[in-house]
Amino acid sequence: MSEPLSCFELAEQSTGDRSEVLRWAAARLPLVSDEEAVHDTRVALRRMRESILGFDRCIASGDRDNARRLRKVESLLGSLRDSEVRLQLLDEVLGPVAVWRDRSDDPRLARAYGISVISKPGDATRPGLRGLETEARRLLADLTAAESTLARERMLSGPVLRTLSKLSVPPVIIHTRQSSRPALGRARQQLPALFRRAARQHSGEGDLHRRRIRTRRLRYRLELYGPVLSPEHRSVLEELRELQGMLGRFHDLAVLVEWIDAAARDQRRELRPALRRLTVRVELEQESAKELAEAELRRLDAAAWWQAAQRACLG
């Protein structure tokens, strides 16, 4: 029977693998056409950071500070990622910029088309751009693209890329009495608290936001200890990934609503009615995302899924 993986071995393995992933992702960053490069780099930075935080006692003192540096670069890349997510959401919720709405219900054309011109009240917010919405929609896309370009220039300047290149080197793992202990023991020390935090319910507006952060934290730490956990941890990870996707979508839409609000303030007044209608559409989408995420959390909480998941992972 083979020896269980020690903290030293798992730290060395995970930091080695993850720095390689980080190096590849960072190399793709300057490619404007690579839409996922920024996202992949941020995820790689987060995973690398989790490795350092998870095995902090095995990391050489000189490299422990890398966690802070990784966090800084990740937040720098955040504004670029935000604008990319915004472009995607705008496309998804409001439709692509270049498409003009179908005017086949125009009474002037209706007879020619042989169709009814009746508009049902429930269709008031149906897809398609009305009034100055086309112009407002284009404006939102232009503003986001300009922000994205600016953020890209700032993020991909020499110092940021140099810092990324330095952080892509695996940290030095040291042999200590603690680092030679089984990694599973370390996982058993850390994971229960993360499960408890992720399961904790709060009342009020910030609940979904808090749970999103804690779910993400738990997921990354589970991934880190994956090699020493029971095989069932994979289905737990899958569930967490799905939940995180729902919570993330709600969060992204909430940020988008705030951003449109702020952007509308500086625009010419004629565009504001159209911008208000676009905001309403995003809000409706945000509400359905919220309902989905809350329903999923309720389902997991009611089934005591968190406790069962912890048992499944740690035995």
Binding site: D105, P107, V117, S119, R130, P273
Partner: protein, 326 residues
């Protein structure tokens, strides 16, 4: 030309009961002699409970009785009283209309169907325009908004939307409204307004109703001013930042009217954008003028269309999109 007659028209609206005394001559627009307006807010009860409550009915009856007495004292030959959306949608609307008529010693208070209301407002607002001019009329009331399109003085195609200044203004309790309240108001307007098709080029856009007629004052402009969409948005900015108590004092307006304008102006901005109107002329004439004209032309049957209405362009029974190239 016939001798001018002194006639009165009273509109029992969702926000106000409003008397117009006018000198009417057949074939000419009425000349306004006297106006009296009181805030009774029948629409508030209807929005809350679906009917007009006893207390509000008492207030409405007293107000109407006072206005009828005033019109008679000032020598009116006949009085037309028409009720709009509040009584149209109240579960006890026809009963209330009967009580109002009895208490004010009137033959009848007519609960106007939306289409008739739109046509009367259209008649009143467009009578002074050349007959070949296509007109789009926006009449924003307390509980409903009529969008009517047609040739001036002619038959209009209308679209009645169940949204009004009172309904939207009542969503805000704070003064100025909180961020969330504004959001709710904006959202309700966006949700309730249907898809509208912009009218053809060359169409004159007119606006009437309490909100629109008061907007020029808030922008330091004269009666009947032409307002741009940007100016309407300027008033919205004002409402977002300044309490209505200050605005009422600043512009010398009724506090209640200013509060209602807060809802109406949001509707107007959305309608202007959806209909592609960069500007709109604020008309001082509208429903009550149309009622007085009807009284002059058709006597006690003032609300009935003058002749069999021409075949409608679109099917009945469902809301129609407006913006037809007639």
């Amino acid at each position: 030309m016939s001798k001018p007659e002194r006639l009165a028209a009273i509109d029992v609206g969702s926000n106000t009961i409003h008397l117009l005394l006018a000198s009417c001559t057949e074939g000419a627009p009425p000349r306004q002699l006297f106006r009296r307006r009181e805030f009774v807010q029948l629409g508030a009860d209807v929005a809350e409970t679906g009917k007009v409550e006893a207390k509000r009915l008492e207030l409405a009856a007293t107000t109407l009785r006072g206005q009828v007495a005033e019109a008679r004292r000032r020598g009116t030959a006949a009085i037309a009283v028409g009720a709009t959306q509040a009584l149209r949608s109240a579960s006890n609307g026809s009963e209330v209309a009967e009580i109002l008529a009895e208490r004010a010693e009137l033959e009848k208070v007519v609960v106007l169907p939306a289409q008739i209301e739109a046509q009367l407002a259209f008649d009143g607002a467009t009578f002074h325009l050349p007959a070949d001019q296509t007109v789009l009329l926006l009449d924003i009331g307390g509980a409903s908004t009529q969008v009517a399109l047609g040739p001036a003085r002619g038959q209009c195609s209308d679209h009645s939307v169940q949204i009004g200044s009172g309904m939207i203004a009542s969503l805000a309790a704070a003064d100025p409204p909180s961020f969330e309240e504004w959001r709710l108001m904006e959202r309700r307007v966006a949700e309730l307004l249907p898809d509208l098709v912009p009218p053809l080029k060359g169409t004159v856009a007119l606006g009437t109703g309490g909100t629109i007629t008061n907007l020029p004052r808030m922008l330091g402009r004269g009666k009947g001013a032409v307002l741009r969409l940007g100016e309407v948005e300027q008033v919205i900015e004002l409402f977002r930042e300044v309490p209505v108590t200050h605005l009422a004092e600043r512009f010398g307006m009724d506090l209640e009217r200013v509060r209602l304008c807060r809802g109406g102006v949001l509707i107007l901005a959305q309608l202007m954008d959806l209909l592609g109107l960069s500007r709109i002329r604020c008309s001082e004439r509208g429903l009550r003028d149309g009622m007085a004209m009807g009284l002059m032309a058709r006597g006690s049957e003032w609300w009935r269309p003058p002749e069999a209405a021409p075949e409608r362009l679109f099917p009945e029974g469902e809301p129609l999109e407006v913006g037809v190239g007639v």
